[in-house]
Symmetry: C2
DNA sequence: CATAATTTGTCCGTATGTATC
DNA sequence: GGATACATACGGACAAATTAT
């Protein structure tokens, strides 16, 4: 399973624990171990892969640092799940100015599908004209609408999405119903004036300053999964960013 | 130097490598090892502290993950420096929409000192009325002014700051001239309309949407060092945020 | 409730590989 | 080539947490 020796690749040598990590990531990516499932114990994996327990340990530690797995002493190592707590901590950066982070509620405005335009094709790495599904919703904190979201995914990857009951936590649905866990996301933030249509939905005047969040979410293997364009009122809410 | 045994603290037991890490952090914080200096080798530290090399290694690995030190195979472990490359990568999140991140230029508008108001005292953990130094500057990318910054620091910690030649990279000056390295920063982002005075400096109309970045930078030990309130034009520039 | 088994966390020691000077 | 330093890999021992018995 694992190639030994330094002469594996003339160009790039990869440490053993790195190769072990890649094997384990692939098993998660292939669905051998589903989200929330327990991974075999360290001694089992070591025997299975023919390496020492310490090497397996280093690979799992690296994956825990990447938030791909969760380790619990005395219990085992589990594939990370997209429960609300994790989403709130890792992917939802909009926090009330006073008080702690809370999970927002959602109300869907429209669901439809069509063919990818240039921007959609580019962000999702699709061919121009590929079939996509589009969602539009507003989200509220404390009953106050503060975010408008336009969400685009590849239709082939998320079949019959428009016929489903759409949950508040979409990433959890991607992982559990479609086997596509979101591992990370890249966001580009700008300030812009509220467009006419969206201003009404957010209850602000046209041209009022809004925070635009342009997010591409990617899977474990780096492939883009979802493009999300959010417009946020930041009257009583701010975007929290931790630089370290 | 290091307390052994589990009975050290009835409430919170701390692993040995954690204690080692704290000792090493304190030495950096106390200026025993200056920014950019080489830390003693792993075997030396192990002998010095009376622990194994593996424990020292785990402590240094944790510090490397926190970006407090930089490890270089074959050379040694060094206290992290605030050179332009690091600032650009870790603390400067404003990136041109097309093209790679670049370091901005600065033009200082005013330097002065006074007594901390409520907001300043709160962010810097000072007593109301403590002496502070205030800087105001605009920054440009590609010759185009895009950021206005108001910067506040405690006067006692940064003596005679207003008499100095002020550099573009302030964090490097904090570290090398005052021995106060910035370890991390917490930012709160909002969209807001341009105030009258600042709109002119940025070359936009009053009320034009700007990105406000409210940043508190903290030292290794968590103490606040600087409060910085930035207002950014995001016409051709965006704030990059990586969620993982 | 107590005990044992399992699993991860911590700590140690040693050997070898790779990078740098 | 040699010396030094960090990186990788292995193995073993015990501690702490959890679960099953």
């Amino acid at each position: 399973m694992i190639e030994r020796g330094a002469a594996q690749d003339a160009l790039g040598y990869r440490p053993l624990y790195r190769q072990v990590r890649d094997v384990l990531v692939k098993r998660i990516s292939d669905g051998v171990w589903q989200a929330g499932a327990a991974i075999p114990s360290e001694p089992e994996l070591a025997a299975d892969l023919g390496v020492s327990q310490g090497t397996v340990r280093k690979a799992l530690d690296a994956m825990a640092a990447e938030r791909l797995v969760v380790r619990r002493q005395g219990r085992g190592t589990y594939v990370a799940r997209h429960d609300d707590a994790r989403i709130l901590f890792q992917f939802f950066k909009l926090v009330p100015d006073d008080g702690p982070a809370r999970f927002p509620t959602s109300r869907f405005l429209s669901v439809g599908s069509g063919r990818a335009d240039a921007a959609e094709a580019s962000r999702l790495s699709l061919a121009r004209g590929a079939r996509v599904t589009r969602l539009e919703r507003v989200r509220a904190l404390d009953g106050e609408v503060c975010v408008h979201e336009r969400i685009v995914v590849e239709k082939a990857r998320f079949a019959d999405l428009e016929k489903r009951e759409l949950p508040n936590n979409l990433y959890e649905m991607y992982a559990t119903s479609y086997g596509v866990p979101v591992a990370r996301a890249v966001e580009r933030l700008k300030a812009m004036g509220a467009p006419a249509g969206i201003a009404a939905a957010l209850g602000v005047a046209e041209g009022a300053p809004l925070l635009q969040v342009d997010r591409v979410a990617t899977a474990i293997d780096g492939a883009p999964v979802e493009w999300r364009l959010s417009l946020c009122r930041t009257d009583r809410v701010h975007y929290a960013s931790d630089l370290r």
